[in-house]
C-alpha cells in the first residue's frame, strides 16, 4: 500500500521585497496562503516547483510546504508556515498588517 502524498503549496520570497508569496494555479504569485494551488500529486508538485524555481527575477528560494484544505483555501500545517503566512507575533507587521482590508 503506497503512502498517501501529503498536499503541498509552492512558496518562496519575492526577490525585491523579500515578502512571502505562494504560487497560484493560474501561475501568479499571491501574498495570500489561501490563494495558493493545493497540490495533491507528487509528480505535479515537482513540476510546479521547477516552474517556480525558474522565475529567478521574481522569487528566491522556492520550496514545497505542507498544507491542508480549508474552507477558504489551503491552510498551513506547520507553525513555521503559519508565521510566514501571518507575520511576527510581537508587532502587527508583515502580512497581518499589509493585507488588512
Amino acid at each position: 500500500m503506497s503512502r498517501r502524498y501529503s498536499p503541498k503549496v509552492v512558496t518562496a520570497n519575492r526577490l525585491r521585497e523579500g515578502d512571502v508569496v505562494y504560487l497560484t494555479a493560474d501561475d501568479q504569485w499571491s501574498p495570500h496562503h489561501h490563494e495558493a494551488e493545493l497540490i495533491e500529486d507528487e509528480a505535479h508538485a515537482q513540476m510546479r516547483l521547477l516552474h517556480a524555481s525558474a522565475q529567478k527575477l521574481t522569487v528566491v528560494g522556492a520550496y514545497l510546504a505542507d498544507a491542508k484544505a480549508g474552507p477558504n483555501g489551503p491552510e498551513p500545517v506547520h507553525f513555521r508556515e503559519g508565521f510566514r503566512a501571518r507575520g511576527p507575533s510581537n508587532y502587527a507587521h508583515g502580512k497581518q498588517a499589509d493585507l488588512r482590508s
Binding site: 526577490l15 523579500g18 515578502d19 528566491v60 507553525f79 513555521r80 507575533s89 510581537n90 508587532y91 502580512k95
Partner: protein, 556 residues
C-alpha cells in the same frame, strides 16, 4: 572615539559602490541567487522569514549620537521605525527591501558605519565590555585593541574564507562583562607580577549545538604581541579547521579534537614565526588609535543633589539601584538604559527612542553611547548631579525601566518571529516572563537573575550561559522549550545543565515561575543570588519543583 581615516573612508565607499552594482546585476538577472547570496551576506544582508534583514556592525559596541540618529533615520526611511540591538553589539533592521539596501549602506557610510563582515566565514565584529573606558574595575580601556583588531581583520586576505565564522571578544577588566569565555578568541586583560598589563588569551569557546568554555592558551600575553598572537591562532585554525563538516568547523571543535596542549604548541610555534614579521607599525598604529579613545574631560562638581534625590524619590532610587554601575570617577556613574520595558521586545528601540538617547548622550553623557551584548544601551559617563534629570527624560519615552540584571532583563534572539533558522519563538516567551513577574511584583525581591532565550540550537540568545537558559525547539511540529540551569557568562563561566524534558509554549512561563519560587523558598537570604543558591543546592530541588506534579496532572 575613533574617526575614519581616508583609507577607511575610501574602503567603505568602494564597498558600497561595489555592492550597489551587485544589487543592480541581481535585479537585472546578470547574477543568479546562487551567485548573489555570498555577496549579499558579505555585506550583512540576509533573507529571513518575512523579509530581508540588514545587520549593521557597531564596532565594540561604541556609537556616537550622530550615528545613533542616522540609525533612527534609516529606520524611519527604509524600515518600520525601529531597530533591534543584538547579542553581538550589532543592530538589525528587519524590513529593508533589496533595491533600497545600497542607499542604506550609503547612509551608513555617511556616518562611518557599515555592514561588512557581519556575516560569512570571516572575523566578525569584535565585541567588548560595554563599560569600557568607564568601569571602576578596569585595568585599561580595551577598545583601542578592539579597533586595532578591527582594522587588521577587515578584508584580511588570509582570513576571508575561514572554515567558519570567527568571533573575538575583549575586556579590560577582571570582571568579565563580554562573555569572553564563550568566544572563538577571548581576551581578558590581566597584570603580570611586574604590574604590566597583558592579556589572558582564551581559545575555543562557543555556544551553539556544542557549547564549550574556552581554554586558556596563554596566561599572560604582553599587549605589544596581540596582533601576531591572534594571527597565529587564526592561521593555525585556518589550516586545521574542518571544512568537511559545517557542524565541526568552529575552532572550539578544532581545539577539542587537537587537544589543548598540542594546539597551544602549534600556536606558539606559529607565533614565533610571525612575531619578527611585525616590525612595529602595529604599535605605532595602536598609539594613534589610543589617542582617539582618550577619556572625556570629566566635570568636577558637587553630587549632593543626587544624594538628596536618591533619598527622597523611591522610583528614582529603584532605578539607580539596578541601572547604575560604579564609574572610575567617583562623581560619575555608568547608566544602563534598559531596552527591556516589561512586555516589549528585548533589544528593540524605536527611532524616537534612538533620537532621545542620542540627545541625552550629548546633554549628559559626553556624547558617548554603547550597545551591550545584553541588548541594552549604555551612557558610560554621566555626572551624578545629572542623573535625576536624565531619569526624568528617560521616563517620558518608556526607557526608565528599573530592571537591569533582574529577571525581566532578558536576552532573547529574534526567534521564529523573524529568523529563518529558528525552530521556535523566543520574543513572546521573554515578554510573557517579564509581564508575569511584574504582575507578581517579585523581581526586586528575586534579585540578580539572568534569563537567556534562544529560538534554536545555534544559541544566539546565549541560553547556555543564562542562570536560567531556555532553548526553543520544534518537537514533532510543536514548539517545545528546554530549560538549563546554572549557566554563567562571567569570569566564572559555566554551561548550564538541562533540567529534563521540555515544556510546551503555554507551560514554559509557569515552569520558570516554579524554578524561581523554589529558589525563593530555599535561599539563605536575599544576599544569596539564584546562581549562588543553584551552586549550593544543585539541580534536585529545582527538578522537583519543575516535574514533581507531572504524574498527578497526567492522571487527571
Amino acid at each position: 572615539m575613533y574617526s575614519y581615516s581616508d583609507f577607511d573612508e575610501s574602503f567603505v565607499r568602494s564597498r558600497v559602490a561595489q555592492f550597489t552594482q551587485q544589487v543592480e546585476r541581481r535585479l537585472d538577472g546578470s547574477l543568479t541567487e546562487e551567485e548573489f547570496r555570498p555577496l549579499r551576506l558579505m555585506n550583512g544582508l540576509y533573507l529571513q522569514l518575512h523579509a530581508y534583514m540588514l545587520r549593521v556592525a557597531i564596532p565594540y559596541g561604541t556609537i556616537s549620537p550622530r550615528q545613533m540618529r542616522q540609525l533612527a533615520y534609516i529606520a524611519d526611511t527604509w524600515d518600520k521605525g525601529y531597530g533591534h540591538f543584538t547579542t553581538r553589539q550589532n543592530i538589525q533592521f528587519n524590513w529593508p527591501k533589496l533595491p533600497d539596501v545600497p542607499a542604506i549602506l550609503s547612509a551608513l557610510a555617511d556616518v562611518e558605519m557599515h555592514a561588512i563582515q557581519t556575516s560569512g566565514n570571516c572575523v566578525r565584529n569584535v565585541t567588548a565590555d560595554h563599560f569600557a573606558g568607564a568601569a571602576a574595575d578596569e585595568i585599561e580601556d580595551p577598545r583601542p585593541y578592539a579597533e586595532l583588531l578591527r582594522q587588521w581583520s577587515t578584508d584580511h586576505p588570509e582570513f576571508q574564507f575561514l572554515p567558519r565564522k570567527f568571533k573575538i571578544a575583549i575586556t579590560g577588566a577582571p570582571n568579565d562583562r563580554a562573555v569572553t569565555r564563550a568566544h572563538d578568541i577571548g581576551l581578558r586583560m590581566v597584570r603580570n607580577a611586574a604590574g604590566e598589563p597583558g592579556f589572558e588569551v582564551m581559545v575555543g569557546g562557543g555556544l551553539g549545538r556544542t557549547p564549550m568554555i574556552a581554554h586558556t592558551v596563554r596566561e599572560f600575553l604582553p599587549v605589544a604581541d596581540l596582533l601576531p598572537y591572534v594571527e597565529a591562532v587564526l592561521s593555525v585554525y585556518n589550516i586545521l579547521g574542518r571544512r568537511d563538516n559545517k557542524y565541526k568547523a568552529r575552532i572550539k571543535i578544532t581545539v577539542h579534537e587537537t587537544g589543548k596542549e598540542e594546539i597551544t604548541r602549534m600556536i606558539e610555534e606559529r607565533f614565533a614565526e610571525l612575531r619578527p614579521l611585525f616590525g612595529g607599525n602595529d604599535q605605532r598604529l595602536l598609539a594613534d588609535i589610543r589617542a582617539a579613545f582618550a577619556p572625556p574631560a570629566f566635570r568636577n562638581a558637587p553630587t549632593d543633589a543626587y544624594d538628596a534625590f536618591y533619598k527622597a524619590d523611591a522610583v528614582f532610587r529603584a532605578w539607580a539601584d539596578t541601572n547604575l554601575a560604579p564609574h572610575r570617577n567617583d562623581q560619575y556613574a555608568i547608566v544602563t538604559i534598559s531596552v527591556k520595558a516589561h512586555g516589549q521586545t528585548p533589544g528593540d528601540a524605536t527611532s524616537e527612542q534612538m533620537r532621545l538617547m542620542a540627545d541625552l548622550a550629548e546633554r549628559y553623557g559626553h556624547s558617548d553611547l554603547r550597545i551591550s551584548h545584553e541588548q541594552n544601551v549604555i551612557l558610560p559617563h554621566v555626572h551624578k548631579s545629572d542623573l535625576p534629570a536624565l531619569h526624568a527624560a528617560l521616563t517620558q519615552v518608556g526607557l526608565a525601566t528599573a530592571n537591569v540584571g533582574l529577571i525581566s532583563d532578558i536576552i532573547a534572539c529574534p526567534g521564529m518571529d523573524y529568523c529563518a533558522l529558528a525552530t521556535a519563538r523566543s520574543i513572546p516567551i521573554a515578554t510573557q516572563i517579564a509581564e508575569r513577574f511584574k504582575a507578581l511584583d517579585l523581581e526586586h525581591d528575586i534579585g540578580p537573575l539572568k534569563i537567556k532565550i534562544s529560538g534554536c540550537i545555534n544559541a544566539c540568545g546565549h541560553h547556555h550561559v543564562g542562570h536560567i537558559g531556555i532553548l526553543g525547539l520544534d518537537r514533532a511540529g510543536v514548539e517545545n522549550y528546554q530549560i538549563t540551569l546554572g549557566g554563567d557568562g562571567s569570569e566564572t563561566a559555566a554551561i548550564g545543565d538541562k533540567t529534563g524534558p521540555g515544556f510546551a509554549y503555554d507551560e514554559i512561563v509557569p515552569a520558570v515561575e516554579r524554578i524561581v519560587r523554589a529558589y525563593l523558598a530555599q535561599r539563605q537570604g536575599p544576599e544569596e543570588t539564584f546562581l549562588m543558591a543553584f551552586r549550593r543546592l544543585g539541580m534536585d530541588p529545582f527538578k522537583a519543583a519543575l516535574y514533581e506534579n507531572e504524574g498527578a496532572q497526567d492522571a487527571a
